[in-house]
Amino acid sequence: MNLCLSKPENADENIVYSLPFNLTRNAVKINGHFCVSKEKIFVYTDNKLQSEYFIREFCEIICQQQVGSSMVQGITKNGETVYICGFSQEFFIRFAELCKIIDYYIRTGEFITETDDDEPTCMKCGMPLEGAKECPYCSKKSRTMLKLIKRIAPYKRFFAAAVICTIMSELIWVLMPYLTRLIIDDYVTPKSYQWTGFTSITASIVVLLIIAGILEYINMKCSFKVALNMGKDLRQDVFKKSQSLSMSSISKKTAGEMIKRISNDAAKLEDFVTANGKDAIVKILSLVIIVVLLFVMDWRLALMTVIPVPLVFYITDKLFQKMAVCYTMVWRNMAAHSSVLHDILNGIRVVKSYGNEVREIQKYAECSEKWAKSAVRGEMMWWLTIPVAEFILTIGNFFVLYFGGRMILDNEMSLGALVQFTTYVAMLYEPIRWLIQIPRNLADTTVSAGKVFEILEEETDIKDSENPVSLDIKGKIEFDDVYFGYKVYNPVLKGISCAINEGEMIGIVGHSGVGKSTMINLILRLYDCTQGEIRIDGVNIKNLSQESLRSQVGVVLQETFLFDGSVLENIAYSKPNASFEEIVKAAKIANAHDFITKLPDGYNTRVGNKGYQLSGGERQRIAIARAILHNPKVIILDEATASLDTKTEKQIQDALGKLTKGRTTIAIAHRLSTLSSADRLIVLDKGKLAEFGTHEELMKAKGVYYKLVMAQRQTTKMKKAVVNV
């Protein structure tokens, strides 16, 4: 990332980083520069030095984002916060990165002079890149399309067959007007009764039509084979890649976005290849052939046909632009209408219980009317545009008919030749219509292709080392000065150091958002820490093979996800080759066997989205059975009993007790009472490890943990009081 965008005039020569800023504290626009050397921070306004600070005076530099502006603040060693400069949001990511560098320098004494983070925005168009290396809007269309064409390679024989068939059928269609001309000039105009010649030409036309039909059939078959297979390959490759990407890459995209890329974008490319792949070659070829034929037949008439074409391109493009906006509005209003409908019907109980039916009917009617109005407008525009565009496109035909007709009257041209000529002119319009549409189709497809290839070409940031170790994990886990943030400028964990012994049960406690789940994500290596290291049995987890690590760690989360399938399949998910006996044993240990037996189809009962509705506790016990079957060396319990009632929690606690026995266990729970069996507790506060010890030790220390316990006791008392009332 470029952190030296521009320097002030006469700037200090030791300045390494310099970013412009544009706001005063009074929200007035200024031309300022925030500059950093190894020793100092300089603030310039209008190229004049306004203030300077020694970096050593600060213990932290913060980039604070507000609603419409942001600011850089420094926290001095005596705890005072100092405002340094303010700016609008376009500079935020760069300032955040720079603050991180200064912060790192304050902490470690190491001054980084080169940053390797990606540029936040495209230097050409200014659009945010959102982690992509190449701007999907500016990337060369030809390069993206070339990548798409390369994907046809495995089906090149079918593609070649489709192209050959199309070329042949196009040639037949080019031949047809000539045969028509022969019939008109040799038999119709002279009123000739030579049936042999007439019959042979007519028979040739019929045979050629049959051949064209066969060729078209082969062509369609081959084209669909290429396009559908290419679409299938793309979808599979994108899905495969999405599974191998790190959590940080996956988290940048929503599930909906990933689904859209796997299905919609790939489908768009598939459609483009079906509709335009071979057409690109054939249409251009037929355009050239027809233009040559027209000029050979009569260059003057040919010119009349071709001259309006550039104008047609210009005008139709403008008309289509207007149309596109119109249809976007229709689409937008339709989406808004669906959203309102969805909202009202989903919340029908709330609507009815507050007696707001009339208000909602009115709201829906307004929405529906807006949609209808925009749709009418769109249709009116469409039916106004199409005849105009068509008229402009075919205007040359009128000239051809007028002048061609005069040439016939002057005996300069035969009627058959004019019919042949006008048929070619009509045939010329088809590739031209296609060419008019192609920039729009190409633009649309390039964006889809760009998005699909972005995933396919993304390098996963969590990779196995060159020679990864496959370790038989015993269960000792060490955090050594670990720093981590989901966003580089916002560290969640700061300098965590602790050691968890083999077979120990550790509870992690702290306020919401303090980094408890993040610690777990780091142990699972779903993310890599930005600084420091995590060791399992003395081996840095970056050197462990991911497969070896994850196959020996079991996880039970608060939200249990059951796949669409049977209870049996869901338990066996962690060990697909497990015998039925092993599965039942696991279910028994998890206290799940009894309720599964009562289900209508026992272990074959379908669960998941479309299956039997299980209660939270039942789902959780299936998840525990899954973890037991996995036989992990390290167990992670992330709020495993948070959403359960006390009776169910007891059953789950029993099951968890059996699961965690003798295994290193790390548990997160908001309800501190659920961590009563923990050997030691890690207390996180503001991203730092505040306390680490047994419950008794921490209670005696009367620190953060003590406060948390007291606060929860207070809440429990209040709840009891409410119940008693």
Binding site: R25, A27, K29, S69, T81, Q89, T121, G126, M127, D444
Partner: protein
Amino acid sequence: MIEEIYDVDKLNILDCSKLKFTKENSGYLTLDFGGRIYHKINPTRLIPFDSKNKFISISYENDEKEFREIGVIKDIKEMSEEQFKLIDTYLEYKYYMPEILKIYSIKDNMRGSIFVKSDTTSGGKTICVKDWYQNFKLFNGSYLYVVDADGNKYFCPDVNKLDKKSLQVLEMFT
């Protein structure tokens, strides 16, 4: 140590005559409220789209980094001119949002983004709006709210007061 009692369930409408704000070095404000001094005060507009001056929440973060609201000012215009200016300036900075004065053209790149060539209170600018269905919105038929690709916000309090050409340009996109 006296523990502070924080009533989360009470709306405390503040009496403007008892408030005295001053600027502090941190970029935030200091409040003297009935003799008690609060630092790092961060005023917030509770209904930013409806009013810039009404219902301003006065809050700070305590040592535990917990949100603490002192109360709500019903209308900062009821404060003295000097105090009003101080808070208004702070809010204008926090909610820095240039006003759109004129729209020359809107170009759609047919890929979900639009480029709005406009005059704003911070000068002429082509505002690049990504995913414009979400980020280029008209509230209550008149308030235009725009968030550009960098996260900068722009607004027009009443599009109906814009010139005829701007309205024509806007028509297709609102």
